[in-house]
């Protein structure tokens, strides 16, 4: 089992008890109840991966939602400073990494604070503040009077202007109406700095402070109790929930107006906004971010491959592979009303001339991506995209175990436990020269009783994908031996090769549940586990009711108990 442990998910953490349970689960094939939680938490080795009983408990009642305090992620930070201050330099990239947690780096429970983070907040906000005040025009964008002061032709006194500027800035930065005292506090900071520096520097200092403040960095939800006695986010808090989920950024004027008009209390008001927001290009950026984290397509430009063995693979091809997958997803989700099973069985994809040549597809001209029908004897849907099958592989040889584990964990949410340490000590990885095909090299796992339980499930999935080489191109042979991709997969049955595998995975209810749970984890900043059977049931049913329409799922995620309400105060 050479690379399983290093290449997909973070297998590796487990208590003995959990490991035993998981191992045994492999022997009986895939669990049939869709209980595996998301592969990412499994990947993180948390013991939460394995809800063996997910039948919803009695009493999925009102007031049971969970709403941990969330902090802006780097992705959100970048978007917010762009929309707040026009700063498109992605300064959040200089913040330290998030803990992977649920696989999207946004699990609130894992958002710990390091010295480095606090130091970088200070450094980054200093740079942003400087850029936001470096010219008369920039100051004017914050408040017209500020440009006049900088030009030496003020029409208002400095203090008055600063009050106007600060009020406007923090109303948007804090995403809510602000109290006079909050403005006053920042004005007194400004006044103190102004004694020994310029007007622009005093404004920069205010911005620096706002960007480090808890009201900016944290999504504080005070909530309010409605006429129905239920506790829910205030209108402005709901506007922020919506905008950070669907746009990764702060609310726009429409949302703020809806909040002030009280239109974000009832579920249908929230739904109307969500439907509007999905039409905005910002929603596509969020979806891209989601899939970059879910799929192994983020590093396709930097695959480490021997150029003599794979002369056609280049970093540019890697970029195009990623674009192919993202383009299919984007068009299907946002333009074609696509379903998740439909994405996984699409008989078309998107290519430009260069990528088509890589695939050996003729008749595609130009740099622009265009719709292309695929040869359905070789490819079908997103899981057979060159990038998706190449991105899991970290060397010159294909690794069926890793490909199988990716599909199980990330697409079907079936945890693949790591081998126990004693098993590791007894198994040597296969030498690339030991047999002509990966299937032969890796078959020892299914024969060795120590390994068979899990590998009997993982490996066949990978074997079925052996028609794709380490850079995702089609092959009939490996080292002159015909690739045998006929397999029997516990839980999925007989599969004749990659195309039928794609079809069976796409039809499997666990695949649908997994997708919904992954989106819920991302949307709610959680890692749904064994205790979250109610919310899982809500979203899985809603996704099914929407015929697995992806855009519809995003809307339905705003209609749940967890999105619309806050926990009752204890």
């Amino acid at each position: 089992m050479p690379s399983l442990h290093t290449s997909v998910g973070n297998v590796g953490t487990h208590t003995a008890v959990v490991a035993v349970w998981l191992m045994s689960s492999c022997y009986v094939g895939l669990p049939q109840d869709g209980s595996g939680v998301d592969g990412n938490s499994g990947a993180d080795g948390g013991s939460s991966t394995s809800a063996d009983d997910t039948s919803p408990p009695e009493g999925c009642v009102a007031g049971r939602s969970s709403a941990p305090l969330r902090r802006l992620t780097r992705f959100e930070y970048n978007n917010v400073v762009r929309d707040l201050l026009g700063d498109d330099t992605s300064p959040g990239n200089s913040l330290p990494s998030e803990i992977s947690g649920n696989g999207f780096g946004n699990d609130a429970e894992t958002q710990t604070v390091s010295s480095l983070l606090v130091e970088q907040y200070a450094t980054v906000s200093e740079g942003i503040a400087k850029r936001a005040t470096e010219s008369r025009d920039k100051l004017g964008a914050l408040a017209a009077c500020a440009a006049e002061i900088e030009a030496g032709t003020p029409t208002a006194d400095e203090e008055t202007c600063a009050r106007e500027l600060v009020t406007r800035l923090i109303t948007r930065a804090f995403r809510r109406p602000v109290a006079d005292a909050e403005v006053d506090e920042l004005l007194s900071l400004r006044a103190a700095i102004r004694e020994s520096s310029t007007f622009a520097t005093s404004i920069a200092t205010v911005i620096e402070a706002v960007l480090q403040s808890s009201d900016f960095l944290y999504r504080v939800e005070v909530g309010e109790v409605g006429e129905d006695g239920r506790r829910r986010p205030t209108g402005h808090e709901m506007a922020t929930r919506l905008s950070l989920f669907l746009w990764g950024s702060i609310p726009d004027d429409d949302l703020l107006a809806a909040a002030e008009a009280g239109d974000l209390v009832a579920a249908d008001g929230v739904r109307a906004q969500a439907e509007r927001m999905l039409q905005d290009p910002r929603a596509r950026v969020v979806a891209r971010h989601f899939f970059d984290n879910l799929l192994p397509i983020g590093s396709l430009a930097t695959l480490e491959r021997d150029a003599t063995r794979y002369p056609l693979y280049t970093p540019q091809i890697g970029r195009l592979m990623r674009e192919e997958t993202q383009t299919l997803l984007e068009r299907e989700i946002f333009e074609n009303g696509g379903t998740w099973p439909g994405v996984l069985t699409a008989e078309h994809t998107y290519m430009n001339a260069e990528l088509a040549a890589y695939y050996g597809v003729t008749g595609v001209e130009g740099e622009a991506f265009q719709r292309v029908d695929v040869d359905t004897t070789q490819r079908l849907g997103m899981l057979t995209h060159a990038g998706v099958v190449a991105g899991t592989i970290h060397s010159n040889e294909t690794n069926p175990v890793v490909r199988g584990a990716f599909l199980l964990e990330k697409i079907m949410c079936q945890p693949t436990p790591p081998p126990t340490p004693d098993v590791f000590d007894q198994v040597d990885p296969p030498n690339p020269d030991s047999a002509p095909t990966a299937r032969e090299r890796f078959s020892q796992h299914s024969e060795d009783p120590k390994c068979a339980g899990c590998h009997a499930v993982m490996d066949p999935i990978g074997f079925a994908l052996e028609n794709y080489d380490a850079v995702g191109r089609w092959r009939d042979h490996e080292n002159d031996v015909l690739s045998n991709t006929k397999v029997t997969i516990p839980g999925l049955g007989d599969v004749s090769g990659p195309v039928e595998l794609a079809r069976k995975v796409a039809q499997d209810p666990r695949t649908h549940a997994c997708f919904a749970v992954n989106w819920a984890n991302f949307a709610y900043g959680r890692t749904l586990g064994a205790d979250d059977a109610c919310v899982r049931q809500d979203i899985e049913e809603a996704f099914a009711a929407a015929d697995h329409d992806v855009a519809q799922l995003l809307i339905e995620l705003t209609q749940t108990e967890d999105f619309l309400f806050l926990p009752e105060e204890s």
Partner: protein
């Protein structure tokens, strides 16, 4: 060692300008006295991935020295350390018994002595953080973590049990992300050491302090309205803000032993390679891999000066994470480290090249520490350096016969020796961690998982 005075004093003296700020009082603190045999004053962990070549497939251990405790011959892999052997204590035969196996289990266990908890990270603090509490709590930085090529492979730059072994000694047991950008590290450590920038720097410090005061009040107010995990995280944030405020107050003066290392050009090196794949995904890293030796040396130089200047007393250096998915063009090795470990089949000859190179880098680091004269003894003589990894044998992740080495003279550590614990009934590395703690005057009976602690090894001194 030079007397530590506050930066504000230094800046006023250097700039020669009276600046109207309310806090120009002298804040000097006497340095800790050192005498051979007293407790160690500084601690460094040095991590290289994937163990070493403990079994080359023919039964040969290419890492282990041969000979007796004081009369031994270094192996081919360790041979580059020959010039520093008199300061080395090579500690063979230990096992990571407290690890639950594997790369991430070993990564969490090697400094914490714990297996992984439900979040994947070790169940208790790492030893460097415990030692930071003993010797570095009042320094501008409590501890410093740097990494050269980090977040490679599937962690995509996210903090993960595979890449973050440093765990805070506080409730919540938080992993500490390392610093990656050599230019930012330089700015953070040394930019205020230049007295010519004094007036600007002073105004900037004043401004930052005012901002942090404001941030502090806001966090405090928020905390008072929270409970449970939310409150814990916000309180942690507040603590870090206060540490930063404190750090702004104190920076060391330039002296014969404390000065900024030469700032080199690292424009050919992208510290974010491997990170942010969700944002760009199209970062080429060939230049970056080729620049690893240069950047690694620069990082070691900075780390030495951070210790010499007393900016911090505890540092952790990672050449990479356990995934080690980068290439070694300067060694003519076109595949990544993990490929040679097992992804592409176990390749002992290529691995020997890699580990021999790492030994040479460690020799350089120890030489630099030893070159700092603190008045009759070197910086290395006050320091304990722990060199280690997360597994022993890369091909099968075996965690027996770990390639551990200590160096330095802190707390009376005696170098020039090669110890084998292979035949002892007790070979748990928790006992080594306990023994290291004793060098710092900490007499606790267990560290990490008590199940794997019998008694601290007594043969370090």
């Amino acid at each position: 060692m030079a007397r530590r005075i506050s930066r504000r004093t230094l800046l006023r003296g250097a700039g020669g300008v009276a600046i109207a700020l309310p806090w120009l009082e002298i804040m000097g603190q006497p340095a800790r006295a050192w005498a051979g045999g007293t407790t160690a004053q500084r601690f460094v962990t040095m991590y290289t991935p994937g163990g070493s070549v403990i079994n080359d497939g023919s039964g040969n251990n290419r890492w282990r020295p041969s000979g007796t405790e004081t009369d031994f011959t270094l192996s081919s892999i360790l041979m580059p350390l020959e010039p520093m052997r008199h300061k080395l204590l090579i500690y063979d035969g230990l096992s990571l018994l407290s690890s639950n196996g594997h790369h991430n289990g070993g990564m969490q266990s090697w400094l914490s002595g714990w297996g992984q908890g439900s979040d994947g990270f070790g169940r208790g603090p790492s030893i460097d953080q415990v030692i930071a509490g003993l010797i570095s709590a009042d320094k501008p930085m409590r501890s410093l973590q740097v990494a050269v090529r980090w977040g490679t492979g599937r962690t995509h730059g996210l903090v993960h049990p595979l890449n973050s072994p440093n765990l805070e000694d506080a409730e919540g047991n938080n992993p500490i992300p390392p610093r990656l950008d050599p230019q930012a590290i330089f700015a953070s450590l040394f930019s205020t050491l230049d007295p010519s920038t004094a007036p600007d720097a002073l105004a900037r410090v004043a401004r930052k302090k005012s901002v942090l005061d404001y941030v502090d009040r806001g966090l405090n107010g928020l905390s008072s309205r929270l409970s449970g995990g939310d409150k814990q995280r916000v309180d942690q944030h507040l603590t870090k803000v206060r540490e930063l405020e404190q750090a702004l107050d104190e920076m060391p003066p330039i002296s014969e032993v404390c000065y900024a290392p030469e700032l080199i050009d690292t424009s050919d090196y992208n510290p974010d390679t491997g990170l942010n794949s969700n944002l760009a995904g199209d970062i080429l890293d060939l230049d970056t891999d080729a620049s690893i030796p240069k950047v690694g040396k620069f990082m070691m130089d900075m780390l030495v000066m951070a210790l010499a200047c007393d900016i911090t007393g505890v540092a952790s250096f990672q050449w990479t994470d356990t995934e080690a998915k980068h290439t070694f063009p300067w060694l003519d090795l076109p595949n990544h480290h993990h490929y040679y470990q097992h992804d592409g089949g176990f390749a002992p000859d290529q691995l020997e090249k890699i580990y021999t190179w790492y030994a040479g880098q460690h020799e350089y680091f120890l030489q630099q520490l030893d070159a700092i004269d603190l008045g009759g003894h070197s910086l290395l003589d006050e320091t304990v350096v722990l060199f280690g990894s997360e597994v022993a044998q890369p091909s099968n992740h075996n965690q027996e016969n770990m390639p551990f080495m200590l160096a330095g003279g802190g707390g009376g550590l005696r170098g020039g020796r090669f110890l084998r614990h292979a035949d002892l009934a007790d070979r748990s590395h928790n006992n080594l961690l306990l023994a290291i703690l004793r060098l710092f005057g900490d007499e606790r009976e267990t560290f990490g998982n008590p199940e794997f602690c019998s008694a601290p090894f007594s043969d370090l001194t």
